[in-house]
Amino acid sequence: MFKSLTARAIIPVTVSVTGFVIVCCILLYSLMKTDMINEVIRFETNQAQTIVKSTRYAMRHDDRESLANIIDNIGTQQGVEHVRIFNKKGLIMFSSNHKETGKLLDKNAAGCIECHSGSVPAATLGDMKQARRFANEKGKEVIAITTPIYNEPDCYQAACHVHKAEQKILGTLDIGLSAAPLVNNLTVMRNRMVIFSLMVLLVTVGGVAALLRRYVFIPLRLLVDFTEKTIQGSEQEIPPFGEEIEKLAGNIRRIVKELNSTRRETARWKKEE
């Protein structure tokens, strides 16, 4: 079965196209997934910086009520799983989840260890290193980002409360967004790619198979039938074919014609005897 002409023509094409399309799709999906996750992290970083800038005025004036109100309102936004601000020691000062306000964070926890892994905590991190992906206590997948709140001249020069100019970081904002939209988009994209790949495979393999059948296998089968029937002694005509096979068919026709005339001649001689 695998050694037939049909199999030899179809199997290499099918294996090559299927393998190549699948490898391309997996690599493309992997690249697009990375790009989409990076885009979400970039969006989240911008959002975190917007929050830090929006809360700066309230922080400078030590207006804790406004600050708590801003954090609460952001926390009610659709897709925002948590927002919290903690001080340099890791104590949660403000949080959209009021139950965790006043609790101390572990420096070895995800989101903290990235800066606190060395003896001296890092003051800056790239966007991608600030991000982490985890399932929260509700079982929802979350992409969270931590942004440091830097000590700026208007902080340490303000009269209201004291920060030394040497202190680089005053605290950290931690915001977590639901990863559900990203996961949904990735699933839709994956399904579309699977459908697209199946269509490409069907069109390519089906097209090659149909054309081979129409222009090679059917003419060959007709030629085989024709020669077999001629061997059995019956006389019939074969239809015209495409260029290359027509040459073969022409040669077979000529041979069969000569064979038939020889047969008739032999039959006539036998009758005369």
């Binding site: 290499p12 294996v15 090559s16 393998g19 490898v23 997996i26 690599l27 992997s30 690249l31 990375t34």
Partner: protein, 183 residues
Amino acid sequence: MEKGGMNRPVEEMAPPGFRQNHARLRKETLAKIRVLQRKFTTELLSAVLFLLLSIAALYDFAFFPSLPESIRAALGRPPSVNMIGALLLIYVFSGILLILSRMMSGSGKYGGVNHVGFIAGFYFFYHFSGKLPENFWAVFVAGVTILGLESYHLWIYCSEEIDKEKEVLALLDARPGGQGDGD
């Protein structure tokens, strides 16, 4: 049929010099058949090696001890995932074209173990860049495609060549219709 007719073995009718040549030719033909059978077995061994390698890669080479930091540092930074992906794509594309061209020309060349080496390289590069779990299936499908095509090509090639050698054996044994045993 009369004595010395067509169905008697060639050896009985021929002079001694021809008999020697005949025996040598028979031996050579049998040796060629054995080489062809071994060629296909080697290709199958490459496929088995690839499967074992893929099983290890599926578990991110967790069975093996991790490379010491000093060796990792000496090796330098791994290439970017995008670059490994682009190389994998070029490798699959050129590999398929090469095997299809061998099929077209009827060449018996094959690169089974070399391909396993290339695929192992991709697995290791992805492993050291920490992105093997995401890209495992891409490398695996690439390997299955290349080795599958190569095995199919080699199987067809070896079968055809063995059939030809069996025809020669049948001719030497004066058994018409390719009925030689070819062992």
